[in-house]
């Protein structure tokens, strides 16, 4: 793969295999596992290639076990690839050179780098020392990030006394203290309530705008992806099956749109069959799936043929579409 100087991250034919051994239940299984262990390689990521430019926000989508976290771990240098190449800003991540480590950060769900029994502020100053920041630099940086993350007194309370949302925000603060230019975020909103998720999302968006940092994100919450990532990379069973913008993915996955209608009087389902596929029919409410090329005619006819109180046209939820795709296992 040819490296363009404008590419920050180059992933070329990257693969990772994990060696595993199965154990049968019971004493006999234990003995066999001890004396005659059979191991085999399980492919986690197979032959994946893509490039990422500086400042991009890219979402990695995939079902559980699809390989997206393994991919992220290889890109940040946490694990070694079985084959293929990763280049991040001219560095080979698995070598974990100091200059590379000072440019990146990894946030992994609730895996804490904060010291449990101490307030986050102590851990922040430890991190500042690790990254060679002076006390003054650390103080300015902590204040700046704390303001963006809406953190105040929480930073001087023991970590174990903080709520999950406060802890997660403190973790993010600790991870960003050294001004990394590449952020690897694995499920950064996992377990947070809706409000906390929204705050983390708006912070990441703001951080990207202010600093121009490149953000690579995996999340099970589609809202994270739709709010933050213009570009998505979909992984299925360790292989890449989509790399492009989210809108195009939605269009290619669903050539139809949802038409939700609120009727003045209840109607039988037979009356709607000619307009499109009925997704839902409940008393006076009906939801139809209509192909995009027929949308104008169908809406016009519905307004003429029925006594309608309200009508709404929308794309089917992207998470529903992708979920269906993963279940079907279709590869474009």
């Amino acid at each position: 793969m040819h490296n363009n100087p404008s590419d920050l991250i180059v992933v070329d034919q990257l693969s990772k295999y994990y060696r595993v051994a199965n154990k049968q239940p019971g004493f006999k299984g234990t003995l066999k596992h001890f004396f005659d262990r059979k191991t085999y390689d399980v492919p986690a990521v197979t032959d994946i290639s893509f490039k990422i430019s500086p400042g991009e926000v890219v979402g990695f989508l995939g079902a559980n076990g699809a390989g997206k976290t393994t991919l992220l771990k290889m890109m940040c240098g946490l694990i070694h690839p079985s084959s293929g190449l990763v280049d991040v800003g001219g560095f080979s991540p698995q070598r974990r050179q100091t200059a590379f480590l000072k440019q990146i950060t990894l946030v992994m769900g609730q895996k804490q780098q904060l010291i449990w029994d101490l307030p986050p502020m102590d851990s922040l100053y430890v991190n500042a020392a690790v990254y060679g920041l002076s006390d003054h630099e650390a103080k300015v940086r902590i204040n700046e990030l704390a303001e963006m993350l809406e953190l105040g007194e929480e930073l001087t309370r023991p970590v174990r006394k903080l709520s999950l949302g406060q802890r997660m925000k403190s973790e993010i603060l600790a991870a960003l203290l050294h001004k990394p230019s590449v952020l690897f975020l694995d499920e950064p909103t996992l377990g947070l309530d809706v409000n906390a998720q929204a705050r983390v999302r708006s912070f990441l968006s703001e951080y990207n705008k202010r600093t121009g940092a490149t953000i690579l994100l995996t999340s099970h919450y589609m809202a994270d992806i739709t709010a933050l990532c213009p570009r998505v990379i979909c992984i299925h069973k360790g292989k890449l099956f989509y790399d492009g913008d989210l809108d195009s993915l939605a269009n290619s996955l669903s050539p139809s749109r949802e038409v939700k209608v609120e009727l003045k009087n209840p109607c039988a389902s037979e009356q709607f069959k000619k307009y499109g596929a009925i997704q839902d029919l409940n008393d006076r409410f009906v939801c139809l799936l209509v192909s995009r090329d027929k949308l104008t005619d169908v809406v016009s006819n519905l307004l003429t043929d029925f006594d309608i109180i309200d009508l709404e046209i929308s794309d089917p939820p992207i998470d529903q579409l992708i979920g269906e795709l993963f279940i079907k296992g279709e590869v474009n």
């Binding site: 994990y18 771990k73 940040c76 240098g77 946490l78 694990i79 070694h80 698995q94 974990r96 100091t98 480590l101 000072k102 990146i104 950060t105 990894l106 992994m108 895996k111 804490q112 780098q113 029994d117 991190n127 690790v130 990254y131 060679g132 991870a175």
Partner: protein, 244 residues
């Protein structure tokens, strides 16, 4: 936070094994067969206690927990070797132990006034230096076992392979002079006598071959440092970031 303060005090008290051994040996009046009278025995075991307070290592357990829980992952991605983070934690704990160790030493002298002694400044300096070397050797030995976490995932079980010979050959249970000469010769070929016996003998003022003792400590450190580096380098390639 009261429970944490109590925990620190209990933690400092947990290293009292040398006092138990002192009580055992002095009551059975076997000190003479070690070439030590009661006062010599008391000074030796108090010194062994103090040396142990500042050379005890638990990196294998912390490392295993961090490795299995996924906490090691962010540490591996920081520009500081994870083992240095554990060194810092050990040194911080040694500083915390210091006032408790002094309090226990004072109590010991109150209960055994005849055993009171003040080491000379050169003795103190050499004991301090050899205790730091002892800590370094113990830390490196456990780091070697900890690095096996990259292969076995439960390397704390393997730590027993070090702990049992450490217990018997370090001088924690009995001064090594009590051993038959052929066993002693074999013991001196291992790193264990240099972890307690050697620094404790310097501190208590017992006769000891200082030059060869320091030479052996430096030799063991120079063998263990590259061994840990090589094993770590090989192991980290196998790291799968489990639990993360």
């Amino acid at each position: 936070m009261l429970e944490y303060r109590i925990e620190i005090a209990l933690w400092a008290l947990s290293g009292v094994l040398p006092f138990i051994m002192f009580s055992l040996w002095s009551q059975n009046d076997v000190g003479n067969s070690f070439g030590l009278n009661d006062i010599g025995l008391a000074r030796y075991f108090l010194s062994a206690f103090l040396v142990r307070q500042f050379s005890v290592v638990w990196v294998v357990f912390s490392f295993e927990e961090d490795s299995l829980s996924g906490r090691l992952s962010p540490y591996l991605l920081q520009p500081l070797h994870p083992l240095l983070r554990y060194v810092a934690a050990h040194l911080a704990e040694q500083a915390t132990r210091l006032p408790f160790a002094i309090a226990i030493a004072i109590t010991f002298f109150i209960l055994n006034p005849s055993s009171f002694w003040l080491p000379s400044l050169p003795q103190l300096f050499l004991a301090y230096l050899s205790t730091h070397f002892a800590f370094t050797i113990a830390f490196l030995l456990q780091s070697l076992v900890a690095a096996l976490c990259f292969w076995t995932e439960k390397s704390s079980a393997l730590e027993r392979l070090i702990f049992v010979p450490y217990l018997f050959l370090s001088g924690l249970l009995v001064p090594l002079s009590a051993f038959p000469s052929n066993v002693l010769k074999l013991a001196m070929l291992t790193p264990f006598p240099y972890l307690i016996n050697f620094p404790a003998k310097i501190l208590s003022g017992m006769p000891v071959d200082i030059f060869n003792g320091f030479l052996a400590q430096i030799l063991w450190i120079s063998i263990l440092v590259p061994s840990v580096k090589i094993l770590w380098k090989l192991g980290v390639k196998r790291y799968t970031a489990m639990g993360a």
